[in-house]
């Protein structure tokens, strides 16, 4: 095989057109038909003679034709037919004056070892010539099922790519490729769409409070994506510069093609139903209250424990009287252990928030029934077409989503127009414009202070959820404040339905992504491309708090609000010159030199107030309390030059070098220039040593690469500044010195990476293995260390530290069954194991805190000598001899010091994908596997403290008065095994907030995707100017196997570096739906 001609991404639409233009002279005509294995005609296949730079592209009938200029129509050449997703084929043809007819039959690419892939800078290359690891997904592989964020659709499909879904619908998706490189900088990959970097801006939620507004990559419409290639490390991505250290996701969109003027139609529509994939296991034996008694009076403490939002009340045995003790039966000194059973006063009715005299019974579904069935209706309609000089594609897509949390909904609209025009003989142009609008209403809040679900872990298990729906009857109905909504508790909580329905929060992002490019064919083998593209969006949040909102509205006023508006504009422009020619019969050169500029401009304006004057007018002019105003501007610029050269010898040995130099605005003058090179090589052993090839081993390739990538700092870290306070104090201006010590000496940070890979094909493509080993380290990291606050500063920006990541990753694909009756079973397994280590921090600094738990009882850290993401928290003291917990008075002794309790990084991750096809039926199932690593669940900690979880029954299930919970431990006073019994109420409340029991092994297997589909007769599709039509039943997250109790072990609040601690987050949706797809 020849190295293929190189095209820049923006010119992809011309893959066939450009050579055709060059061939517009008299000469030898080469033509033929390309069909698939089922004899169906294949359009858009590129058929070319790479050595001559001429070729054509097939039309809808699969026919291609081109002319070789007479001057060059001599000798024997390789004619190659290829299209993404298909196995390329080549034949030798001898050119002469006579016309040549050559047909091809192309099979679908079973393995990913061979064929054309899109790689850095949008180059399409034969995979055999690549010396670096990357994995490409086709549109079909990507769109097996539908998720709200396109990145979740590749979960489990690409090795070494760890994707964590938010839980909260529409929330953030965290993506880490080959482990985290940066201690406190960005660890998310760079996204490039058609050659233009696009923003994956994130406004995440928090563990304490907030809303998770998700990340911006979810704006993309998966149906517009032709291929998605993951460049896994600095090696493959070195040419992308600073932001490539974490890998690059290269997306090429669908384009129009020469269809002879015919319109082609594609439609993809699905209807999905969502529900929480996991629910909590609540106890249903004891109701609200404390120390065994409860009586509602006003829900704020006037009754017996009715202000207390926990479930340590009387047994839910249907009693209608006797929920409180006889007056005088207890005193403040009475311990629950000594309460006699006769203490309950049988003359008193059991009072509840819904009224008196109702039986004291559990409502086992009282949390589950809060949720509704979510619905997602998604559709994309696209039309495309073109002729030999121009083509276009227009697509429109919408997602209409009703969340499974009441009153929560999302809407997404995408429009994309792509056009290409050949202007004259040498110049071709391309333009893309996308409009994206992504909006949501009433996202549930996250975290401890304002999340919608938070109160279910401070709850009465007897509460009738249905009764809470009618919140409009007002608080006075059950003795609560008249100004409040009707609720079960007036102390700590708002009614969950009222929160969802009466505190509207809406957000929307309006976004334009556009690009223009022009390619000039200077010579047959040399072209120049100029390209500019911008990603511009506004993201706004309008949040209104009704009067009575406990956390956010001052009860003195008529409600409150918070607004913010972000504006982001990133422009990337580049100019690159590409040479692609045979230097001799045996050596091929592919070389690029280019220059690029990037300018980013971000601005955020915020306004909030805790009180408004006139109800219902959420406007700063109506603020009763002077609003807090915020304004933040961030600008950044980088300039770059880069180049690469790949030499391929005899089609089997490629050596490629790349080099790039960046100049960044964020580093001090004199230190803001940084250079980084890379080199890689690829050897196809089965071509180099044909004797290796056998029936069993049909393909073998070795590759290796060494690369370096530099990175700059975030803006404004060079000088310590004073910040003003927008709200004057009694009319006086206020300033305060910032808490971060600046550093005028910052240097660029450097990631160094080596990788080696092996690609093997067996039994003529029936089985393949693609495996890599990598070893990378990032040093001179720019991050803020925590310094002793007694310096007057909490942090200092420094260059220090080193994180290393070593790992292996493999993709193994087999087609175990391939029967003549068309039954086919393909299975693939991907595996990745990464070993991270914080090699070094700053002298004297042993840890960097990435984030901490709600009660500051646990932290996630980068701790020296340990993998990134150490869980460090408060545990129990243990007996040195037996390892058992030390107890005092029957209760574990809580350590005063923190200790290492785990690490958030998995031991390995993998995916197992199976596809079965039989005639026009197909069935696919994907398991997504995570093994090892730990998480912290504060839901479980709080849920046991408050007695709502089933696990809190231990120690009180026998009888309230004879609790049987004896901690298995050593009594610190006697040195003997503990024999003191305590109530579970005492146990959980006395040990809180020691987090040790709430660290869990975060291993899980998820049945991530299932698809059962059938292809409908082609003639139906043909009526719609399309080629095929299919319907399918699909499911996502259908089952989770895990030992983590109660919660979804997969969760995130943001795509930031603080991960691994959970509280009251909804679980990732389980989705079941139908899909209809019409493809051209």
């Amino acid at each position: 095989m020849r190295a293929v001609p190189l095209r820049v991404l923006a010119a992809l639409a011309f893959v066939g057109l450009a050579p055709m233009a060059l061939a517009a002279q008299q000469g030898t005509t080469v033509s033929g038909v390309v069909t698939g294995t089922a004899s169906e005609p294949l359009p858009a296949v590129n058929v070319a003679i790479p050595s001559l730079g001429v070729g054509g592209v097939t039309n809808d009938a699969g026919r291609y034709t081109f002319v070789v200029p007479a001057a060059r129509a001599t000798g024997t050449h390789t004619l190659t037919a290829r299209r993404i997703g298909l196995q390329a084929k080549s034949v030798q043809i001898t050119l002469g004056p006579a016309a040549i007819t050559q047909n091809f039959v192309l099979a679908a690419a079973i393995s990913q070892l061979e064929g054309v892939v899109v790689t850095a800078l949008g180059q399409t290359r034969e995979k055999s010539t690549l010396g670096t690891a990357q994995q490409q997904l086709s549109n079909v592989e990507l769109n097996q099922t539908h998720a709200q964020n396109v990145m979740q659709q590749i979960q489990g499909k690409v090795s070494s790519v760890q994707i964590t879904g938010a839980g909260t619908q529409g929330g953030s998706t965290n993506i880490i490729i080959r482990g985290a490189n940066s201690i406190s900088g960005n660890n998310q990959p760079l996204f490039v769409v058609d050659g233009i970097p696009v923003s994956n801006y994130n406004r995440g939620g928090g563990l304490i409070s907030g809303y998770d507004y998700g990340n911006a990559i979810s704006d993309l419409n998966p149906d517009d994506i032709q291929t998605m290639t993951v460049l896994k490390g600095p090696n493959a991505a070195a040419l992308y510069g600073s932001r490539a250290a974490n890998g690059v996701v290269v997306i090429t969109t669908k384009h129009g093609a020469a269809t002879g003027g015919k319109v082609r139609t594609e439609i993809n529509t699905s209807l999905n139903f969502d529900s929480p994939s996991r629910l909590w296991d609540f106890q249903n034996q004891y109701g609200q209250g404390a120390s065994g008694q409860f009586a509602y009076v006003n829900g704020a403490g006037a009754g017996v424990n009715d202000g207390a939002d926990q479930s340590w009340g009387p047994r839910l045995d249907g009693r209608t009287t006797g929920c409180v003790f006889t007056a005088g039966a207890i005193t403040s000194k009475t311990h629950p252990l000594t309460v006699p059973a006769t203490a309950y006063d049988q003359t008193k009715p059991c009072l509840q928030f819904t009224g008196s005299g109702q039986p004291w019974v559990a409502h086992p579904d009282n949390v589950e029934s809060f949720f509704r069935t979510g619905k997602t209706l998604t559709s994309t309609v696209a039309v495309s077409g073109g002729n030999e000089t121009s083509n276009a594609r227009l697509s429109l897509g919408t997602d209409q989503i009703e969340g499974y949390v009441p009153d929560n909904s999302f809407a997404k609209v995408t429009g994309m127009l792509t056009g290409a025009l050949k202007v004259g003989e040498h110049l071709s142009t391309n333009a893309t414009l996308q409009y994206l609008r992504n909006s949501a209403t009433n996202r549930p809040g996250t975290g401890y202070s304002n999340s919608t679900l938070e109160q279910f872990f401070w709850f009465g298990r007897q509460i009738d959820m249905g009764a809470l729906r009618d919140y409009q009857q007002g608080g006075a109905v059950n003795n609560g404040p008249a100004t409040r909504e009707y609720n079960w508790n007036y102390n700590y909580h708002n009614n969950p339905f009222w929160l969802a329905g009466q505190n509207p929060v809406s957000d929307s992002r309006d976004r334009f992504v556009g690009s223009l490019s022009a390619t000039y064919q200077i010579m047959d083998w040399l072209n120049a491309t100029a390209r500019t593209g911008s990603d511009i969006f506004r993201f706004g949040v309008d949040q209104r708090y009704a009067p009575g909102n406990l956390v956010n509205a001052d009860p003195k006023y008529n409600g409150a609000f918070r607004f913010f508006n972000d504006y982001s504009n990133e422009n990337n422009s580049d100019l690159l010159v590409t040479a692609d020619r045979n230097l001799s019969e045996r050596i091929h050169l592919l070389a690029t030199v280019g220059g690029a500029t990037r300018r980013t401009n971000f601005r955020s304006d915020t306004a909030r107030t805790s009180g408004i004057s006139v109800a219902g007018i959420y406007n700063v002019a109506n603020a009763a309390v002077t609003p807090t105003l915020g304004q933040y501007i961030q600008r950044k610029a980088t300039n770059s030059v880069y180049g690469s050269a790949a030499f391929t010898l005899n089609n089997w040995w490629t050596v490629e070098g790349t080099a790039r130099n960046d100049w960044s605005s964020t580093l001090p003058a004199g230190q803001n220039s940084y250079f980084y090179p890379s080199v890689n090589t690829s050897i196809v052993l089965t071509d180099a040593v044909p004797a290796l090839r056998s029936n069993a081993l049909t393909y073998a390739k070795l590759r290796g690469s060494i690369a370096r990538v530099g990175n700059d700092a975030d803006p404004y870290q060079l000088q310590t500044t004073y910040a003003g306070v927008s709200q004057k104090f009694a009319g006086l201006p206020q300033f305060s010195l910032g808490n971060v010590l600046a550093n005028a000496e910052l240097k660029p940070e450097i990631t160094q990476s080596g990788e080696a890979g092996l690609e093997l094909g067996f039994f003529n493509g029936r089985a393949s293995l693609d495996a890599s080993y990598y070893d990378k380290a990032t040093r001179n990291q720019i991050f803020n260390i925590t310094v002793s606050p007694t310096t007057g500063f909490t942090n200092k920006a420094i260059n220090a530290g080193k994180i290393s990541n070593k790992g292996i990753e493999a993709l193994f694909t087999v087609t175990p069954v391939q029967l003549s009756n068309s039954f086919n079973w393909t299975t693939s397994f991907n595996f990745a194991r990464n070993r991270s280590k914080v090699e070094d921090l700053y002298p004297g600094i042993s840890t960097i805190v990435l984030g901490q738990g709600i009660f500051a009882e646990v932290r996630v850290e980068a701790r020296k000598g340990l993998p990134y993401g150490t869980i460090y928290g408060q545990g129990f003291d243990h007996d040195s001899a037996t390892g058992l917990v030390l107890t005092d008075g029957g209760i574990p002794v809580v350590s005063t010091d923190f200790k290492v309790l785990g690490n958030i990084q998995p031991t390995w991750t993998g995916g197992w994908n199976n596809t079965f096809t039989y005639k026009n039926w197909n069935f696919g199932a994907l398991l997504d596997i995570r093994r090892g690593g730990q998480i912290v669940s504060e839901t479980n900690a709080v849920g046991e403290y408050s007695g709502v979880l089933k696990s809190s029954l231990r120690g009180r299930e026998i009888d309230w008065n004879n609790p049987g919970y004896v901690v298995h431990g050593i009594d610190v006073n006697t040195g003997q095994p503990n024999d003191v019994a305590v109530t579970s109420e005492t146990f959980f409340q006395a040990t809180f907030p020691a987090i040790e029991p709430y660290i869990y092994d975060d291993s899980y297997v998820k049945l991530r995707e299932v698809r059962i589909g059938v292809d409908l007769p082609t003639r139906w599709a043909n009526k719609l100017n399309a080629e095929s039509m299919s319907i399918a039943l699909t499911g996502r997250n259908l089952h989770t196997w895990t030992n983590v109790p109660n919660i979804d072990p997969e969760f995130t609040y943001s795509s930031g570096n603080f991960q691994g601690i959970e509280y009251a987050i909804p679980s990732n949706p389980r989705t079941i739906g139908f899909n209809v797809r019409i493809t051209p």
């Binding site: 404390a290 202000g307 403040s332 220059g595 807090t628 300039n639 104090f729 310094v787 909490t794 409340q989």
Partner: protein
């Protein structure tokens, strides 16, 4: 095949690439921070730092939900975790310690630097007093703390791991600093210097105000050493009395912080009470006020909802036990409430209720103690200062000077007794007067062990009232090296460890012995 036009294109491309690479000088302009300034006016720093400092030491975390439980002015009626000292452990109090240094203390230092650079005591002296006021809470809460190497992170050659200095050395420096502040203020030229003016939210730039606050603060810190170093205590106390400007002479001299009450800057108690109903008077407080007929009780607390009686709550019960007392015990007084709350309407003016950094009442009670010890207080007897202290406190809280007050003052247990009994009376009065300043009340209680009924509640996690807080978890994580000398000199980092000045009294007249504050 290559024509001239094609070469021209190639040339343009090459030139453009070169231009990209070379035009990098302008890049740094992009990095000029448009959001915040590289310098700030000292008055604006001062205003913010005072507000931050008051919010810290008289605010929610340290005072209302911290030391007010520890000193048992108040008791916790819902989820009494702080009251049991559980949520006062290192991780919960770290923010107070960390924030004080990196927040207002550093800003006061910048004001001192700016004032010193322009040789302007009207700027640096108030900042010196405020910095010392803050350091007083820091050292009296934690003991040995970074002092001499602190607040210098941005100075050339400074350490990022300041050493913990012995409390004795810190106190010695307090006296020097406060001496300098009041003397420099007194010596400053009466014209030509521009002071803080209205940016000073406490005295509006009045130099006499700052002189008296400086001296009064010096007297407070001097008296604190009386059990460990009575000679220094006496010397410094007498020096404070004799310093230019003297001590506070009336409530008009109080270091008063007026909250605007505009919804943005509200009294922190009122802000907390808006949504939280966790606070009840402690039965320790009511035991020292109700039987004696102290008229301040109707200001400090509200009658219990159930029967209109002033009734305190036992500290540190279980949640179940405590919440049973929700309606039968007294909430804090109506003056602290903002009106509408999420659980009912109480009071109304709480948002704008001023707070006091130091009061005339405290000064009079300090003078009473000093006089009882035979020190030179510049006139007046222990009894007369004691009486003036109680009256000042009543006036400050707006208690009318009527028959009820007279009857209270005439009660045998209130009328001044002199000697050790007198010291006990002074200490109890000061503890009552310091309602709203839990940090000072707790420090004075540790020094005097009065009132003696302050003992841990039933569910307290240790059986002794804390003598200090545990060091910040941030510090133990990043500055273990700096802490090491403190652990050696002061003792283990526990609630029980006593700091330098926290010694059992040796010299008569004296207070009860060291076993005070132990769970019965």
């Amino acid at each position: 095949m290559i024509n001239r036009k094609q070469w021209a294109v190639a040339t343009v491309v090459a030139v453009a690439l070169g231009a990209t690479a070379c035009n990098n000088d302008k890049l740094t302009g992009y990095n000029e921070n448009p959001n915040s300034a590289t310098s700030a006016p000292a008055p604006a720093l001062f205003t913010n730092a005072v507000r931050t400092g008051v919010s810290r030491w008289l605010g929610t975390t340290y005072d209302l939900r911290g030391t007010e439980w520890v000193t048992q002015h108040l008791a916790e009626v819902q989820y009494p975790d702080e009251d049991a000292y559980k949520r006062l452990q290192a991780s919960f109090t770290a923010g107070t310690f960390d924030g004080a240094y990196s927040g207002e203390q550093e800003d006061f230092q910048k004001v001192i630097d700016a004032g010193t650079a322009t040789n302007n005591p009207l700027v640096y002296a108030p900042a010196l007093v405020m910095r010392t006021w803050g350091f007083g809470y820091l050292t009296d809460t934690w003991g040995d703390i970074p002092y001499f190497q602190a607040l210098a992170g941005d100075s050339v050659g400074s350490t990022l791991s300041p050493t913990y200095d012995p409390q004795k050395a810190i106190y010695d420096d307090f006296f020097k600093v406060l001496d300098k502040a009041s003397k420099d203020l007194a010596a400053a030229p009466t014209s030509g210097l521009v002071g803080l003016g209205s940016a000073d939210p406490i005295y509006a730039g009045s130099r006499a105000g700052w002189e008296r606050f400086s001296n009064s603060l010096r007297a407070r810190q001097a008296m604190r050493l009386v059990n460990v170093d009575p000679a220094t205590a006496k010397t410094q106390f007498e020096a404070a009395v004799a310093a230019p400007g003297g001590l506070f002479r009336s409530n008009a001299d109080n270091a008063t912080f007026k909250w605007p009450g505009d919804g943005v800057y509200d009294n922190p108690w009122a802000t907390n009470f808006k949504t939280r109903d966790d606070h009840r008077l402690s039965n320790r407080l009511t035991a020292n006020m109700v039987p004696q007929g102290d008229p301040r009780i109707s200001v400090y607390g509200m009658p219990a909802e159930s029967d209109g009686q002033y009734r305190g709550l036992e500290n540190a019960l279980t949640q179940g036990q405590a919440s049973a007392f929700l309606t039968t015990t007294s909430r804090p007084g109506a003056i602290f409430y903002p009106g509408a709350t999420t659980y009912g309407t109480f009071g109304g003016g709480g948002a704008a209720l001023p707070q006091y950094l130091m009061t005339y009442a405290e000064v009079e009670l300090l003078l009473a103690e000093a006089a009882e010890r035979g020190w030179n207080v510049g006139g007046g007897s222990a009894a007369s200062h004691y009486l003036a202290g109680i009256n000042a406190s009543m006036d400050q809280w707006g208690v009318p000077n009527d028959a009820a007050r007279a009857a209270y003052l005439a009660k045998p247990e209130i009328a001044y007794k002199g000697g050790s009994a007198g010291l006990t009376q002074i200490a109890i009065q000061k503890w009552i007067a310091l309602y709203g300043d839990g940090g000072q009340a707790w420090a004075e209680w540790r020094r005097t062990c009065q009132p003696a009924n302050v003992v841990p509640g039933p569910e307290a996690i240790i059986n002794i009232v804390p003598r200090r807080f545990q060091y910040s978890t941030t510090e133990t994580a990043v500055n273990a090296e700096g802490i090491a000398p403190a652990l050696t000199a002061q003792g283990p980092d526990l609630f029980q460890t006593r700091m330098y000045w926290d010694k059992s009294p040796q010299n008569a007249p004296t207070y009860p012995g060291p076993s005070c504050g132990v769970k019965p």
